[in-house]
Each structure stands twice: as structure tokens, then as C-alpha cells.
């Protein structure tokens, strides 16, 4: 198990290294240069431009620049924002709590509503099943941004139940402020999870070992829990993991719509302003989160399915 985790961590590090290169080079491949942003359209003498380029090391060969940046990242120095001159690391640190809250809240919603609704639909069938199928189609079809606007206009503006913007502080404040954004963020993922959970449960219900257990006189409640739901959770775990990992990226749209000061909103702003240092840091962070969540899911999967041979053990 330890060897498996270590190996996966090594793979994660390699992934991060490769993506760091891609992230860094993608910014330079994009049209527009950072110095043109820095001078903000003013006409400046070539001497000033040259001094700016020298200050940010823009004249160095590409690989040298990458190497310098990577060295900084590894020592915790993510550089300086081109717009605010602030330290990117501390800028990120101030933004992370809101995004973390938002995505965790959405993840809880996905698990509670997606998995529970899907499982009940699969076990019960009938009208509830049809309702879940219908609801999941709608939930999946509605674009996140539209859902955000709709939720705001109904629950904030018309009913006045929730605040329109801001991330709140303290537990109650966070919950109050982030409920609508989290719902908007969780909606499509919860819909997918509900549908896949339902399918998995229905499939597992048909399994022979389930009818064998029933034919042995094992009570239905025990069969449903131990044989149907437990086995159905295998595919569901994967899909929940992928969806939760994707939330971090999806948060950008929601944070923008609800004007939350999270990492996602920061990403959008810095892309618009060509704030290279910030965009690179955020992109790398997204990749890291995705990798870590997937690693957790893989370990979890190995724990719940004994047939999965962990790489380290089979060798």
C-alpha cells in the first residue's frame, strides 16, 4: 500500500513537472507580450522598454526563464504579480479559503444529492426514479452561468433568502453566502453522479449474487446495503472523484457570476490582464488539485474493491 502511494506520488510529481512546462510555454505562445501590458498602451522609448524587459528577465532564453521560474516555484516563490506588484503566493493564499469552501460545499452537495438521489431511484424505481431521471437531465442541461443568474434572481433578488454577493465570514456567514454559488456549481455534476449511481444500482440489483442472497433468506435491507449499494459504489466513487476534481476549474465561472474573491475569479482577471505570474501559479495549482484528488480516489478504490491489485503488492 505504501509503495503504491509512493509510486503514485512520483507519477504526480512527473505530471506536475510536465504541466508546469506546458503552462509556462503556453503563456508565451499566447498573443501579446507582458511588457505591452506593463506600459499600458502608452508610447515609451525603446530604452524604457528595454529596461522593463531586463527587470523581468524577458530577454533571457526561454529555457533559462523557465528554469528560473521553476526554481522559484519549488522554493515557494511564485513570483510577483505584474499588475499589483504583490507576492503571488500571498495573493493566492488570501483567495484559497473562499474557493476551498465553495468547492467543498459543492462536493458535499454532489455526494448528498447526487449519490443519495441516484441510489434511492435505483432501489425504489417508480415515480421517484422517473423524477430523478428528469431532474438530472435538466440539471445537466442548464449551463452553470445561467443557473447562477437564475438562482440569484429567484432566491436573492425576489425572495431575499440569500445575499447576492460576497463570500461571508465565519461558518454561518460562509454557509449563507456560499449556498447559492455551491448549488450552481454542484448542479451539473450532481446530475451526472445521480444518473450514474442510479444505473450502477439498477445493474447491481440484477446481479446473480443479489438474487442468491435473497433466495438464502437474507433480509432485503441487508441485501440492499451490503450487496447492491456497496458494489454499486465502485463506479460511483470514480465518477464522484472526477467531478469533484473538476469543480476547482468550474469554480471560476461561479465565482465570477457571484463576484466571489476566489482563485477562479482571480484566474479570469489575470488572464484578461495577461498577468503571467498569477495565471501560471493558478494553472499549476489546478493541475495539482486534480492530481491529488485522483490519487485519493485511486487509493479509496483499492480499499473498497479487493480485486484491484495495488501495483506494489502484485509485483
Amino acid at each position: 500500500m505504501l509503495r503504491f502511494v509512493l509510486r503514485r506520488l512520483g507519477a504526480l510529481a512527473a505530471t506536475l513537472l510536465i504541466s508546469s512546462f506546458l503552462v509556462f510555454s503556453a503563456m508565451y505562445a499566447a498573443p501579446g507580450t507582458p511588457e505591452s501590458f506593463l506600459v499600458q498602451g502608452r508610447t515609451v522609448s525603446p530604452e524604457v522598454l528595454a529596461s522593463i524587459r531586463a527587470q523581468y528577465g524577458l530577454d533571457d532564453p526561454f529555457l533559462i526563464r523557465y528554469w528560473n521560474w521553476l526554481g522559484g516555484v519549488l522554493t515557494g516563490d511564485l513570483g510577483e504579480s505584474l499588475t499589483t506588484r504583490q507576492d503571488v503566493a500571498s495573493l493566492l493564499a488570501s483567495r484559497i479559503p473562499t474557493t476551498l469552501w465553495l468547492t467543498l460545499y459543492a462536493a458535499v452537495l454532489i455526494v448528498v444529492f447526487g449519490v443519495v438521489a441516484g441510489a434511492l431511484a435505483g432501489l425504489r424505481g417508480g415515480a421517484f426514479d422517473t423524477g430523478v431521471l428528469l431532474g438530472s437531465s435538466v440539471g445537466f442541461a442548464v449551463p452553470t452561468f445561467f443557473a447562477a443568474v437564475l438562482l440569484m434572481s429567484v432566491f436573492s433578488v425576489t425572495l431575499g433568502w440569500f445575499p447576492v454577493f460576497g463570500a461571508g465570514s465565519g461558518f454561518a456567514g460562509r454557509v449563507e453566502h456560499l449556498t447559492l454559488p455551491a448549488v450552481a456549481l454542484a448542479l451539473p455534476a450532481a446530475a451526472v453522479v445521480a444518473r450514474i449511481t442510479r444505473t450502477a444500482v439498477v445493474e447491481e440489483r440484477e446481479a446473480e449474487h443479489v438474487s442468491v442472497a435473497l433466495a438464502r433468506g437474507v433480509p432485503w435491507r441487508v441485501v440492499a446495503r451490503r450487496h447492491i449499494l456497496r458494489n454499486a459504489m465502485l463506479p460511483v466513487t470514480t465518477i464522484v472523484g472526477v467531478n469533484i476534481a473538476a469543480l476547482v476549474a468550474g469554480a471560476a465561472v461561479v465565482e465570477h457570476a457571484f463576484t466571489l474573491d476566489g482563485v477562479g475569479a482571480m484566474l479570469i482577471n489575470s488572464v484578461q490582464q495577461k498577468d503571467f505570474a498569477v495565471v501560471q501559479a493558478v494553472a499549476l495549482l489546478l493541475v495539482a488539485v486534480f492530481g491529488v484528488v485522483n490519487l485519493v480516489i485511486d487509493i479509496l478504490y483499492a480499499v473498497i474493491d479487493p480485486r484491484v491489485q495495488l501495483g506494489g503488492e502484485s509485483a
Binding site: 446481479a207 446473480e208 449474487h209 438474487s211 442468491v212 442472497a213 435473497l214 433466495a215 438464502r216 433468506g217 437474507v218 433480509p219 441487508v222 451490503r226 450487496h227 456497496r230 458494489n231 465502485l234 473498497i304 474493491d305 479487493p306 480485486r307
Partner: protein, 341 residues
Amino acid sequence: MNVLELDDVRLDLPSRRGDRSLLRGVSLSLAPGEALGLVGESGSGKSMTLRTVLRTEPAGARVTGRVLLDGEDVRTLGAAALRRVRAEAVTMISQNPRAALNPVLRVSRYLVEGLRDARGESAEEATRRARDLLARVGITDVDRCMASYPHQLSGGMLQRVVIAAAVASTPRLLLADEPTTALDVTTQSEVMAILDRQRREHGMAMLFVTHDLELASAVCDRIAVMYAGEIVEIATPEQLHAAPRHPYTRLLLDSRPSITARAVELPVIPGRPVAAYEVEGGCAFAARCPWAEPRCERDEPALVHDAGRATRCLRAGELAAELAGAPAGTPGGEGETEVRA
């Protein structure tokens, strides 16, 4: 009183093109401790007959007739009473042990579950008994077996586990649905021997479904031959082998490979097996029967009981002498030419 009595059991399965009849009136009885073999081709309804006893037939199936277990009709039992019957009185061994066990749970869980969750025994008692049961079906390393997941055990080992679980409640009746078909030949005989010994030790009656007439003859007291959703002949293995009374039984016996004679080509029964829902009046076997007469296509034969055996053939009386005798492939075998025709 008989342990099991099936009285005119019919089963219809609704399908897009109207109802499909799978069982067309099966009647049989099983005395305490008796082993009855249900033999027939695929689709003849033998497994379906078995499933009506525990009410595990496919969803939507309509079953009529009575299934009396110790005189009580299991078809009319409420959910709680049915669960008690399943937990205590009747157990089933299915064809593929690998599909019968939950792949993500340990063997110990499977065994203990049947004792604890189904019968309400305490955890310690259930575990102790489970270990004891495994030892009795010839598993030497009980600890390892208990801690194994199904994919870590061989098919033969798994079927022993299933047998151990099946005899755990010392049921009155054991339903065995081709319990050795999924196993390789050497394991087959071992598992069959264990099953037979357990059955005799506990005095359980057994309804044994197989397509292997030889196997059924070896372990059963009586054999019921099924064709197209009904029983066409019931007799002891000795009677069947010496003098089958139904043409289908005769042809089944003839199509077995002989151990002594080397056949160039095995005789096969002409035509294809008819499904129960395809039968339209007359004898179901008439279309494939070399002895069929015009009236066989017209009149439906009844299962006629005579001196401890039963036959469903209009010409049973006239054909008795012709059908009897050694199987085809040995010199002097009667009906040989007809089979090959």
C-alpha cells in the same frame, strides 16, 4: 407427507409478442430424503421448475398451480414467511458459484451472513459453525478459505463453500441447479460426492437439475425427463436405462457417447428442441419423434401413471417393446435405424 409436491405448475412470461409459456403444467412429488433428477435439454424448463419452489422466477412471470412444501403452498406465502422458508427449509445451489458470491466480500461474510442475517444466529456461533461447515466439505485450510475473496479461490473450492452454506441450515429440501456444470471434470466428481454425502448425512431431499442423464442416474432415486415445459417421463434410473417408455428418453439415451464402442458419429435427435411456447396442441415431441403418427400431432397426451412410473406418450403401450433394450451403437439396439434417419 411429501416434502415437495408440484401440482400442475404453469409459468408464463409476458413478452412483446404476447405471453410466452415456459412451464405447461408440471406435477411431481418428492418424498423425504429422496433425490429426484430433472433432466432435459436447455430450455426444457427444468431450471424454471426449480425456481418456482423458492419463488425466484424472473420478474413479471405469472405462475399458477400449487407448490406444496410440507403441505403448505409456498406460492401464497407472505414476505416474512417466504423469507423463513428460504432461510430454513429450502436452499439452492446454483450453477456458477463465482456468480453466487459477492465478489467484493470475503467468504466468511457469505457463510456467516446466511446464518446470522438470515437465521438470526449470534456472530460467534455463526463464525464457529461456518468454520465447522467448511471443514466438513473437505476444505483443509479453513482459515485461509474464510479470509479469501471469491476471486482467490478455484471454482471447485467455491462450490464447496456454496454447498457448505446450503447444508448449514439442514434444510428439508435441497435445490441443485446443475451444480457441477461450471467445474472441470475431475472437480465435478469430487464436488458431486461431497454434495451427495452431505445430503445423505442430513437426510435432505434433493431436486437435482442437470442435462447429464448419467450423472442424474448415479445420484438420484428417480428421474423426471422434461421436454418443452412438461415432464414426459418419470422412472427410476434402472427402469429408464433398461426400458424407457417415452421416445424422447430413448433418443436421449442413444445420443450419449458410449464408453466401450467407438462411434464414428454420435447419433443426434433430429430437429431442434421446441420451446414450451411453440407447442400448438398435440404431443410436443411429435415433430421430432421417429415413431410419431398423425394422431400425435392432434391429440395431447396426458402423463399416465403406471406401476411407479409415468409416461406422457400416446403410443407408450404399443412402443414399450420397441423402445426397451440396449442403446443404439451396440449390436441389436432397437430403434437404431430410426435415430440415425
